[in-house]
Symmetry: C2
């Protein structure tokens, strides 16, 4: 099991701090997506949320009914993806990941059941995709599940080269508001359905 691990949580911690104290600079991908989703909600455009981190609670203290404290819990493997919601009457579902690699995105970053989940969504007329940021290069791509599936079907490789994202994905540029306007791409995907 390669999840949870220290690195992932460190990143998470940073991203929480970032999204709170540096609202407009140096956000992590997660922070930028959360901000963008908040913006979309504020203008009544879309209702897409990040799911809470799944944990298994093993010890709880109830000193009073109002002050319950979880004293022991463990991170568990998520059943689905991090983000889902509603836009233009469509069910939207995606996973977002960052990599420091300049050349490829390792598939070890996504659980196989998460890939299966993205495929199930696509098969049932939902819109599902990955958002992958190559942070060293500052390039962020939206890759539809159908291209992920195509890669997995054709290739034996355990990582997707950046060239595959450049050819088959949509480049997501950083903007001011929303920080990362991925629904512009979703509009194109819906147009093409």
């Amino acid at each position: 099991m390669n999840y949870p691990n220290g690195i992932r949580k460190e990143k998470k911690k940073d991203s929480i701090i970032n999204s709170w104290s540096h609202k407009n600079r140096g956000l992590s991908l997660e922070g930028e997506i959360n901000d963008s989703n908040e913006y979309y909600r504020n203008i009544d455009k879309a209702y897409i949320y990040k799911k809470p981190t799944p944990i298994k609670i093993t010890k709880v203290d109830y000193p009073t009914r109002a002050s319950t404290v979880i004293k022991e819990a463990f991170f568990t493997i998520p059943s689905t993806t991090d983000y889902n919601g509603l836009y233009r009457g469509k069910y939207i579902d995606f996973e977002a990941k960052e990599t420091k690699s300049k050349t490829s995105f390792s598939l070890s970053n996504i659980h196989s059941h998460q890939i299966k989940h993205l495929q199930n969504i696509e098969n049932h007329q939902g819109i599902s995709f990955l958002i992958v940021r190559f942070s060293t290069l500052d390039e962020t791509y939206l890759l539809q599940t159908k291209y992920l599936t195509e890669f997995l079907t054709k290739e034996e490789k355990k990582s997707i080269p950046i060239s595959y994202f450049r050819e088959n994905g949509f480049l997501l540029k950083n903007e001011y508001q929303p920080r990362i306007d991925y629904l512009k791409v979703v509009d194109q995907i819906i147009g093409g359905i």
Copy 2:
């Protein structure tokens, strides 16, 4: 803040134990819905999941990278509802609650922002509703958001009488598989859109 509280968590614990050890009898509403959703997924009918319980983590121990333990965390107020997913290309979103009352369902059981969320979903062509079980009477109703909104607009009351559910909701009977076939009602709702 009336959440979290001891009662709710006790119920949660029971429901987890129930859904694990008493697969086919005496399930809580939550356990029955989880079982039904699992059944729907197994037959590739719908992909609807319960969201993880939202918590705020304040202390984490990293003895090794593989054995991270959360040492302190708190329950936080959920931003949305407990369940969402995809069925027949539609975005589905709902909250499920049990009450011991024989006469009414207290609106203190749902946060006002959860009601707003259900309304946002309905306004954006999603399908949203409440599932409420009057456990003492063993009656379970699905109430569409439009009727919840109608009640809130017309009435000053802080609880919805059971007669309102009987008149405007759909009665959900207990079945064998799935335990609670609420998608049968969703079919009627979709048919009526």
